[in-house]
């Protein structure tokens, strides 16, 4: 990412941004599932 930024390779920078966003989204999904398991007792 740093190399792509310094060389102004905008397609690589956006590609790494997309990957970071996908991984962040997956982390969020895992946390939502953990929340559903731990908070099963809560009325929906």
């Amino acid at each position: 990412m740093v190399e792509a930024q310094s060389k102004m390779l905008t397609d690589k920078v956006i590609a790494y941004m997309v990957i970071a966003g996908i991984i962040g989204f997956l982390i969020d999904i895992v946390m939502v599932q953990a929340e559903k398991i731990l908070l099963r007792w809560r009325a929906q």
């Binding site: 990412m1 102004m8 905008t10 397609d11 690589k12 956006i14 590609a15 790494y16 997309v18 990957i19 970071a20 991984i23 962040g24 982390i27 969020d28 946390m31 939502v32 953990a34 929340e35 731990l38 908070l39 007792w41 809560r42």
Partner: protein, 218 residues
Amino acid sequence: MDENNNQQVNRMRAATNSGDRNRWRKMGGKNRNFAALVALLIICLIWFITAHYVDKPFLFPYLEDVLKEVGYSLTDMYVLRNLGITMRRVLTGSLYAFIIGFPLGMIMGYSPQILRAISPFMNSLRQVPIMAWVPLAIVWFGIGDGPTIFLIAFSGLFTIILNTISGVQDINKDFYHAARSMGANTFSVIKDVVLPGSLPGVMTGVRLAIGLGWMSVI
């Protein structure tokens, strides 16, 4: 009588059809988020058309180039190894933020006196820009994982504290009254009322902290 029976049969048939349509919409009883998929396809289509219309890949890269780079990066071991290292740092930093933030948030949420005592310092400290901590982090922890993990923990710490405080304060006072009326001591109240009751706020704080940690390290 026959008319009533026919009306009843028609109502039952309509109800069955309505149920079938609901099941079709829900694809066998489970919700599917087709709207997000359609939105993603529309965004990709707009990107594709606009990038080719602008025709300056440096300013506005083509969708196909970006997708090719994404595919190449996800199969490149160097990128995957670095992503793994980054993920390890984020999880370690978030764990430290949780270890420090959760008990502090619980104490501050449970005790108004402690909340009043610590809040001014906490609210001042959390306004300090994270980049201001970088030189100090390097001096304290040296070069390597130390400063990164410190910055990740710092960025998530106050989120966990504030959400834990909110989780504890959102517990209905009736639960405390009910527990006390059944003879619960302070330890039982904390174990059986405060800890489970504050869990929604704590989980929200942890979720936000991990997201913030990921954002700050990338």
